[in-house]
Symmetry: C2
């Protein structure tokens, strides 16, 4: 009889020989509600959660951006962290928006040393572009971030994940089935990956609902603590109602052409799959495709990505069989996620990771993407504006372009006085090799890497031009912009989805007021 026997001695036959009844039932725990209150994960404050999470100087914290410009969670958590005197944090967010402007102070005060995100907007982006941070911001696509987390390159110490509802044990969702507070954002896609891999996971909600809050976006098994705060977000900033169709004639023309291109390209067959963006042209393309689906009597097997009410409508009409939703773009989409069984939320890793052949982006037949700039090598910029200031996000742009059989950029040839098709983009975000076709209001260009597509479009009678001719036409309309002047300082590092560096963003050069007058 060997009281010191451990299961790890299992291969040691000598030890097993003398093994005998070792049971000591004294430490057995009986969970009885009648004797003691059942343990739950709800803590009394964000401060308590931060303490229990073990957050220390220099660690990495994470947030999701499903509340978009209505997010209260990140700012509230950061305020408490700052009050507690914790410093030198790396902040990894799925994206940052204008509402996160208070981060400027936390950066100045040394609370946040470094940022990783898909994008930045608003005053925070302005100041980063003007040299706010010592260490450059690392930009990752949604798939790239999920891959970095999954592979351990990006270690998340504590994830603070806002939810529209959560039970006392951590089953969390982006909508509520009980005690609805009116906060709804739909899919928790970007948060799901953080919940799976972060060392400690704190759900922040304003709505504790009864166990079991299932189906759940995040299961209790991935959650350590739950904190209830007064309000997690502003419904107005989280999402609008159903996204409306554009009436802009330029966008309608682009959309109709894009739909014709899709039909001509050989990927528009029964059981096809697709992803549409939220831009006016993308949504209008879906409407033109619907007419074609009805005419050809075909249906779509699944639509992927950011889901909109327009896509939901096609699903409810039986034209799209399943929806794989990493982010619900409007209220109709969020409601559908709650009510339609085959509208399923998927994690960022499931959606777009580059290290898994099963990533949903790889199953896409076609894809409509937008662009701030496209260059003659088909490289796309969705991150910096024509003034060199950061004002966008990589999102799933790189991931979907690489995954889809046919990736189409829809954009107007010019926006105001700015050319969209240029010689060289300010910032390379999505490599031209993964972009197949550019559809503008002034013509369609096919990537020379895809002569097969060019031939199909010509057979279908679609008028094709070259990317160089689009560039020249844009220049003839708005002239050449003066080159943006930058300093030597790097303020942003743009990574490709596999974690390699594909471009850097420099600090923009400042002029005093006089020099702006020339």
């Amino acid at each position: 009889m060997d009281k010191n026997f451990k299961l790890s001695d299992i291969n040691n036959l000598d030890k097993i020989e003398s093994l005998n009844g070792l049971f000591d039932g004294n430490n057995v725990f009986k969970n009885s509600a009648n004797l003691v209150e059942k343990e739950c994960k709800v803590l009394s404050s964000l401060k308590e959660a931060i303490i229990k999470s073990g957050l220390k100087d220099g660690m990495t914290i994470s947030f999701h951006h499903h509340f978009r410009d209505g997010d209260f969670v990140l700012n509230k958590v950061m305020n408490v962290i700052a009050e507690m005197g914790i410093k030198n944090l790396t902040l990894s967010a799925s994206s940052l928006l204008a509402i996160h402007e208070p981060l400027i102070e936390h950066i100045k005060n040394g609370v946040v040393k470094r940022i990783e995100t898909s994008g930045v907007r608003g005053e925070l982006a302005e100041q980063i572009s003007r040299g706010l941070m010592d260490i450059p911001v690392v930009f990752r696509s949604h798939g790239g971030r999920a891959y970095a987390i999954h592979s351990g390159q990006l270690k998340l110490d504590v994830a603070f994940l806002g939810a529209a509802s959560c039970d006392p044990f951590g089953n969390a969702n982006g909508y509520s089935r009980d005690n609805d507070t009116g906060i709804i954002f739909g899919s928790m896609g970007y948060a799901k990956t953080d919940a799976q891999y972060a060392h400690k996971v704190v759900i922040v909600t304003d709505n504790i609902v009864p166990f079991p809050n299932v189906p759940a976006g995040i299961p209790q098994s991935d959650v350590d603590y739950v904190v209830k705060i007064d309000a997690v977000g502003d419904p107005k900033g989280i999402m609008s109602g159903a996204t409306r169709f554009t009436k802009n004639p330029k966008e309608l023309m682009i959309a109709e052409t894009a739909a014709d291109v899709i039909e001509a390209s050989g990927v528009f067959n029964d059981g096809f799959s697709m992803q549409m963006g939220t831009g006016g042209a993308s949504l209008a393309t879906a409407r033109f495709l619907k007419e074609k689906m009805l005419r050809k009597n075909i249906t779509c097997s699944f639509a992927l990505g950011g889901i909109t009410g327009q896509i939901v409508k096609l699903h409810e009409e039986g034209l799209i069989k399943k929806l794989l939703d990493v982010q619900s773009f409007d209220l109709d989409a969020a409601d559908s996620l709650k009510n339609n069984r085959f509208h399923q939320q998927i994690s960022a890793y499931y959606y777009a990771s580059p290290d898994n052949p099963g990533s949903a982006v790889n199953q896409l037949d076609f894809l409509i993407l937008s662009a701030l700039e496209v260059d003659v090598n088909f490289n796309v910029n969705v991150l910096t504006g024509s003034d060199g200031v950061i004002r966008g996000a990589i999102g799933g742009h790189q991931d979907t372009a690489a995954g889809a059989s046919l990736s189409i950029i829809t954009c107007p040839l010019t926006r105001g006085r700015i050319a969209t098709v240029v010689d060289k983009v300010n910032t390379i975000v999505t490599p031209g090799k993964t972009i197949d076709i550019i559809v503008t209001d002034q013509g369609v260009a096919v990537n020379p890497l895809r002569p097969d597509l060019k031939e199909k479009l010509e057979v279908a009678g679609i008028n094709i031009t070259t990317i160089e001719m689009l560039r020249d036409k844009a220049a003839s309309l708005v002239g050449h912009s003066l080159p943006i002047e930058y300093t030597e300082k790097v303020v942003g590092i743009v990574t490709y989805r596999d974690g390699s560096i594909i471009d850097v963003i420099h600090q923009i050069k400042e002029y005093d007021d006089e020099s702006l007058d020339f």
Copy 2:
């Protein structure tokens, strides 16, 4: 410009200063169905999957038992592994049944060195009890196994997980929505945890369906390879049709008493939660509870565990709001999982892990369990028969008893010539500290640790006896069994859910034919 800059240099300001455009687009991959066939996870044979998984001598492989006695997967995989000459494996299964008898040869041939499981039955169990293996079998509860996997104490190198349907990218399920082959087992609960944690995950199916096979029991993001084989199981062995109510008067009497005990114990209130076993008495208890629910006009918030058609019926009648299903016990349950939205499959970890306060077992108000033996300390044996031979499984017995506010054992006082309530159980599986009440056909005994319950039952007019009186009554009916004789050799180690050892099982002593005649 520093071509050697790596993201891990991000905190090195000197390096960043000289950083510049590093992008080399040559290794960018475009996934174009028109150019190359899209990569998928389907391999041509089990052998190829085993090779690609990197399986080597001495590693640990895992299987689930959702096919029960109709499982072809484990035997087929083991045959290929044996043919390939791989040796000294540890086999971790969620459970083993009579159909897994061919493992005997693999053990004799050195292919399998060690087994971890919830239980063993049939000839394999007989031979293990008679000393087949050098190293004892480690028995773990479902929650204990999930905890061991989650915490890294049990490392799974390759999981071979059978599925009723799977798409080419790994979304797998226990039923089919497309190309139905007639194989259906419902929840993949025990397999879900293996898929999350095993180093390599191989889905074995006879039914490849179109992407995306969602909702999925196992998401593609957890899967490395998919192999199609001719047949994964025998529907007759996998499950029967709907489990029928018992007509056995002894069981009906036990069930009616159990229902009265539940009503009297203070846990039978609106929104209660429960878990019922599959035994005749358990199912009949559900029927008696239904009458009480209708009379009291209350509903159940969720039913947990192995789900049966009887529980499904209550769900479909609106009496149970949600079903959390780790294992579907019959065809009606499996069909319901496919068709009822609030019938959700949960992982073994979610169900029962001892290291997470959110484990579903902790939310149980009451629970009906069965027993082979109960002793005067309320310890329960569900693993070894009255002859000392292994013939059962821990299952979730330990987990649910520890988690539920009220855990009730229902059993006949005697089975044939064998007493159920005894002085000391052959094998301690579930510690008496976690068992509250024993309901037999000859009386009800309350654990002295729960005087509160005893009082409530007395107030309700339920006739209560003591465990010692039940033991004496059993002995007076069938006499005392002769003690089982064992050798010194340990053939099984019974762990408690936290991984500690709570008992050992010895090899039974053999007699030659003459000595059996006395």
